[in-house]
Point group: C2
Chain length 206, copies 2
């Protein structure tokens, strides 16, 4: 009788009960991790704490790793109390140091691990960098000098070595690793303001 309705929506419903369930589950995960650690955390446990049936969790997230990764991603919000002073040679190293301190800590590493576990390797990337781009951009925008490089170049020079070392190195990281990289990077890019040493990196990507 009725016309063909355009009912093509996807994903969970944005509000109402679904939202309440999601919040309860997320809160339960956070609480249980704080209380018992994430080792041996199970779906039925989370369900019980959240006042929800296990099957609900299984249907929405499909396993505990995905759920934990999801929670970790919500908490990515780097509430970065950044006060750029306008001098890149101060701001970027300061930020780099703060970033390393944040990431290379027990909760930081746990977060990275959790996010990584939800990665399928192909489809959707781990969203870790999404949280750093705004901070770097903020610093660049605040610079009083002209900026002849890309946010992505900073990621390659500062963030990439840090993350790579964190994940793929046994020995504890030098505490100034990121800061030093930032200092070197700024130095190199201020010395010759019109042509940076590394070819394609001054051309904005993406």
């Amino acid at each position: 009788m009725s016309e063909i309705r355009n009912t093509s929506r996807s994903g969970p419903r944005p509000g109402g009960r679904s939202l309440r369930v999601q919040e309860a589950v997320h809160a339960a995960v956070v609480a249980l991790i704080e209380e018992f650690g994430r080792e041996g955390l199970t779906v039925p446990q989370v369900a019980a704490r959240a006042g929800v049936t296990p099957s609900t969790i299984y249907r929405r997230w499909s396993d505990i790793a995905t759920l934990i990764s999801d929670v970790a991603q919500r908490n990515l919000r780097t509430d970065c109390p950044l006060k750029p002073c306008g001098r890149l040679s101060d701001d970027l190293p300061a930020w780099a140091e703060m970033y390393q301190d944040e990431m290379d800590s027990t909760p930081g590493r746990a977060m990275v691990r959790d996010v990584l576990r939800g990665w399928d390797g192909m489809q959707k990337a781990c969203p870790l960098l999404d949280a750093v781009r705004p901070s770097i951009a903020l610093i660049c925008d605040a610079s009083s000098e002209p900026v002849n490089f890309d946010v992505e170049a900073v990621i390659d020079a500062v963030v990439a070595p840090l993350l790579t070392r964190m994940i793929f190195t046994d020995a504890p990281l030098a505490s100034t690793l990121a800061r030093d990289a930032a200092v070197a990077f700024v130095e190199q890019h201020l010395s010759n303001a019109s042509g940076p040493g590394r070819g394609q990196q001054s051309v904005p990507r993406k």
Copy 2:
């Protein structure tokens, strides 16, 4: 009666039955992944295929993720048929390109994902870099010119951006990403043979 014997050994027994079981299990994982993919691979499945009881697998590896990660690590052996010609400006970019092709492929990404899943975030690092250091060192050793940088510097400049982009970026990678980075790196380090642009990186670490 007997003296206090120094029976402090650890880890699984190196040979005999234990070894046979490990080999059978690893082979079963490889076969099953090839046959059905790794999604939904279960311990009982692997056990059945390997002709082993599930409890054996549970006791040795503790879950399927650890087992798969273990298998992935065994296959890390980059049988890299590298023929350095002695010119860094040729060898390093060529290797970088090959490395990217290998890593940024379906099996390569799956391998990275698998290895990453076994990472606990703290104790033992993902052993991915262990496979690349020898290759880089080989290239450096073969160089006819004096080398004024570190293997670790190459990792920071070439490998780190590649891995970081693979894991943390949605868009497909530029196929020349690693090669370009290698070209830039060599260029920078050959132009001023006595003092590279980036401070601490010419000092061997570790």
